[in-house]
Every structure is written in structure tokens, then in C-alpha cells.
């Protein structure tokens, strides 16, 4: 449902810990658009809050509408609930960014070549020698 925090155990243990950031899915898009402004914990909180808030507003809207006997009131409560939920959970509020991950500086990353490039060049060298 949501991306989990990348753990060191999943990645190549011979590489230094700072290079783990290179394998994050967001790093590949670094040059295309901005990095996400919500951290992993924030995304999880935002999604759970969104689902629960919408369901609660739906139930409350139905209950109040049925009790009063007004279909219009039900639609009004639910509509305003959807708008309120959107305002709270969709934008990148700072409260969803309390545990930011420190990404590697792009200039630092340039000094270390990517692992795929190394294996390709080593294979080429082997074939040329033959």
C-alpha cells in the first residue's frame, strides 16, 4: 500500500551506507521533478487519516440524514467532509514531514560510478581480451 523505509539488510552490504540513497525510487527521478515533500511516515499517516476520515464522515452523514429525514443534509455533510479531508491530507503539510530522510548530495553521487555501468565495462574487457 505504501513504500516502506529502505533497510540496509536489503541492499548490497559491501557498498557504504551513504550510497543506499542511490537505490531509492525517488532518486531516479531526481532530475525530472522535485523530491517528495512527505516522508514515509507522513505518507502512511496521511493515507490512514484519509481513509478513516472519509468513512467516518460517510457514516455520520448517513446517520444524521436518516435521523432528520433530509437527503440534502446528508449530501451537505458528506460533501463538506470530503473537502475537509482533502484539505488536511492531500497537500504537503510540514506535520507529515517530521522524519525526513537525508538524501545524498548529487555532487557527491557523481564521484561514485553506478554499479550497472561497472559490470558492463568489465564484461566488455573480458570479451576483448579473448
Amino acid at each position: 500500500m505504501f513504500n516502506s523505509t529502505p533497510s540496509k539488510a536489503n541492499l548490497n552490504p559491501t557498498r557504504s551506507g551513504r550510497l543506499d540513497a542511490l537505490r531509492s525510487p525517488s532518486f531516479r527521478h531526481c532530475g525530472e521533478f522535485s523530491l517528495p515533500a512527505m516522508d514515509w511516515q507522513g505518507q502512511k499517516r496521511s493515507e490512514i487519516l484519509m481513509l478513516i476520515s472519509l468513512v467516518v464522515f460517510g457514516v455520520v452523514a448517513f446517520g444524521v440524514g436518516y435521523a432528520i429525514g433530509s437527503f440534502q443534509i446528508m449530501m451537505l455533510i458528506y460533501g463538506s467532509g470530503v473537502v475537509l479531508t482533502a484539505l488536511i491530507t492531500v497537500p504537503n503539510w510540514p506535520l507529515f514531514n517530521r522524519h525526513p530522510l537525508k538524501w545524498l548530495d548529487p555532487s557527491e553521487a557523481d564521484r561514485h560510478p553506478k554499479p550497472q555501468a561497472n559490470t558492463a565495462t568489465s564484461k566488455k574487457k573480458v570479451s576483448k581480451q579473448k
Binding site: E47, F71, Y78, T85, A86, V90, P91
Partner: protein, 167 residues
Amino acid sequence: MHSFVYRLNTLVTFAAVLLAMLCAAASLLDAFNSPTVHAHAEVIKINRFRKQLSGNDEVSLALNISMDLRSLFTWNTKQVFIFLAAEYETSKNSLNQISLWDHIVPDKDHAKFQAQVANKYPLIDQGSNLHGKKVELALHWHVMPRTGRMIQDKMAVSSFYLPGTYT
């Protein structure tokens, strides 16, 4: 959930699904409403009974209609459409139904009334089979909801005989 657009998409989709569930629940509760309708309609006078140029019989009536439809209305009712149908049998058709008068009841406050009206739509037969015919009047109602299934029902109210000769 990693971008604004992604979260917005999730929210809109889930909100739409919940809205569909709310409407389905509202419609489902309508099934538990057991209404009791009181209605009566009778022919006061037969104004005209003639034969048209095309050869079909035509009848014009004066009707006295009274009804109480308040129990049909729930929180999910948009309006109730009612019509009075004249039913009779001929040698060609086992059931002929002609709508004589209809009305839209928008809410519960207008659901109880009494009226003396001439029929809105003339009773025209296919042919000339109406001499001395027994015609039954039935009140039909369609309860149109705000969301969900339309409920329709009917009730026989009275019957009358048409005269044997043209008037």
C-alpha cells in the same frame, strides 16, 4: 502516496465509491417502508359519448378524486407520479388501459387532496366497443426516488357502466 496528484486521485476515487455506497444504502432502506394509501375516485357524470369521424368511440367524463398518499413519502422520495387508468375488456383485447388523468405530487404536504376534474385525456377506444361496457377505474402511483429503484403500485377504486347509446 508520494505526490500531491497521487493522493488527490486516491481521495477522489475513494470518496466516489463511498458516495455510491451511501446512495445504495439509502435506496435499500426504502424497501422497509410499508405504505397505506387511501384513495377514491368516481365518475360524477358522463359529459359526452360520441363516435369520432375515424370510427372510434370517445368519452368525456367528470371525475371526483380524493386521496391520501402521505405514507408513500420517505426521505429518499423526490416525487410521486399518479395517474387514473380506465380498464375494460373487448373481444379483440383482454385488457385495454387508458390514462384519464395524471398528476405529480412533489412532497408530503401536497399528498392529501380532493379534486373534481374533467378527464385530462379523452377515453378513446380502438373501434366502437364501448356501448354498455363496464369500465373499471384504477389509481396507479410511481414513487420516484432521489437515488435507487422506482417503486410502482396500483389500487382499484371504482367502476361504472357506459350508456348503451351515444349522447
